[in-house]
Symmetry: C2
Subunit: 339 residues, 2 copies
């Protein structure tokens, strides 16, 4: 699909898909779901997903094994949540460095166990190997009735779009690390949320969903491309930031846009709700004591509108590669693209 | 379990298990199954497993991305086969180096796709990241009716023990690489088999099964510990070797034992069959045109007997760590332990 391959990461995924046939009758196309959905012989769908934390350790963004463990588990659970699936359990594949092995193993386990407890699920097993740098790969399996499964596709013009919570904590950690603002935001302040209960509550309520693992703008851009619609964020961008992210933003002297566009995300869900389901959303949110954050609306057309102006989502998403990972150039580039 | 923790690798796994509660009612204990088994809300059991190929690349044992892809997929499929599960699909998590990215990706995909085709399954999805060295993590999900699921436990004195095919190809690759015998065995000769059809045929036939991912001796040792029995390999060890492994053994001037004890395995299944099921084994084998390799029998007691003598399985399994990975010392140590 041409419109997908404008984004470099999608191109890499498409290359895998070309080399690895996906089976005779996939439930969804590539890119179209956060978790892979497979029919079970006994009924219902199996939801499977995998996420790795490795580059975050290699670049120094994460220094704590706890963060690596928690984030790997949350990333996988977040994909199940987007699909509306109930977790059946996690598998863990960990590459442990030779130094401080027991302490590193303990930190990873603490992060994973904490996320599991919040999701009401467990680690079923896994494997461990030696690795020069810590790597944590987490696979999650879940179950969802076929009629309740949710994809990234399904948005219709007129739907409202929401996030499951305030945004920008992923960028806050990156900014604190790379701009050396450790006194306003530390790695311990980055605790991405487990949104399994929200994912379950949104069954038969949300028209489509995707998690913000790569930040809000990438998520909106992917949803706009897949659904062939325009996503219009009508709310002022500063109102979308988590209060901790807002504090870092102020100290860094950067735009709210940069904090929403940075590629290190926060694992909230972005979802659409048709007008006919707005009341269901109120009921579902009240039942679990949760408050959705309204972002804007789905419109006919294509692309993104944020802060009252068109934003080139592909340029935002390709920027880090285009500047060869140079953080200062990346931040300048995002500021230049801000509406 | 004290008898399990004599083996260093088991101790590492037990440490994960202590830090990561496995849930209220696991189907089996830790160490007791090749794949983790979870009841599905819709009926039957989900079988999940994960295997990584990383150290084999880092140490130079594998140089070809094809081998990494095939072996990662076979390792995961082999765990499903041991459990008697039907594959539902694989997930792939790949760390790709910056150099020759497309060629490396293509080689990995070819190895994975080939193993999938042989197993009658598919890659459902996955994720890709950047990594200094290639890493391939493969997760497999399968389905098995509860009454057909097979564990590592269930062996009884009097059962015969079998392998699904001739052994020693993992050691053949290691010997060819480290002893520089590339003219008698190349990396392309190492193509571990897909035993999914055998695993299916052994439903309700085998009393227990485990794959030889860490070599025959480690597999027998683990089975003997878990089942609290003695495993007596009555067949002469040289008769257990694959003809290619036998050729390398001769050139290397080493014992057959060393080729069966080396920790780089070949992903065959080792399984037990009660006397009352011997006829079922003949029928099952004939149906799929496959010939099991008889190894010996299960006896009352503990430990291993190979080549007519007791073999200290824990020493074999701990040896590589005890010599700090020194290949020459490892080979000398295995030869010294040979019966």
């Amino acid at each position: 699909m041409r419109v997908m391959d404008d984004v470099h990461e999608n191109r890499l995924l498409s290359r895998w898909a070309a080399a690895l046939p996906r089976g005779p009758r996939p439930i969804h196309g590539i890119h179209e779901a956060d978790a892979e959905l497979v029919p079970l012989p006994s009924g219902g769908l199996l939801a499977l997903t995998v996420d790795s934390v490795a580059e975050e350790i290699a670049t120094g963004l994460y220094r704590s094994p706890y963060t690596a463990g928690r984030t790997a588990a949350v990333a996988a659970l977040s994909d199940l949540a987007a699909a509306g699936a109930e977790p059946l359990g996690l598998l863990l594949s960990v590459g442990l460095p030779a130094e401080n092995t027991a302490a590193v193993q303990g930190g990873v386990a603490r992060g994973v166990a904490e996320a599991c407890a919040e999701a009401g699920t467990h680690v079923l097993g896994g494997d461990t190997g030696a690795s020069p740098l810590l790597t944590v790969t987490c696979m999650a399996a879940g179950h969802v009735p076929a009629e309740a499964a949710r994809l990234r596709v399904g948005l219709r013009p007129g739907d409202r779009i929401y996030a499951s919570g305030p945004l920008g904590l992923g960028s806050a950690l990156a900014a604190a690390r790379w701009l050396e603002l450790g006194d306003v935001f530390s790695e311990a302040d980055y605790r991405p949320p487990v949104r399994v209960a929200v994912g379950r509550a949104l069954r038969r309520v949300a028209s489509a969903a995707m998690d913000t693992s790569d930040g809000l703008v990438a998520t909106l851009d992917q949803l706009a491309r897949l659904n062939r619609v325009r996503l219009h964020v009508t709310r002022p961008l500063a109102e979308l930031l988590h209060e901790d992210a807002a504090r870092v933003r102020e100290r860094a002297g950067l735009s709210a846009f940069t904090f929403l566009a940075g590629h290190h995300g926060e694992f909230e869900l972005v979802f659409g709700v048709a007008a006919s389901h707005e009341d269901d959303l109120d009921v579902a949110a009240a039942q679990i004591g949760w408050e959705p954050l309204e972002l804007g609306r789905v419109e006919e057309g294509e692309g993104l509108v944020l802060g009252g102006r068109r934003v080139d989502g592909a340029r935002v998403r390709n920027l880090l590669g285009d500047v060869n990972g140079d953080v200062a150039a990346y931040v300048r580039g995002l500021e230049a693209l801000a509406p």
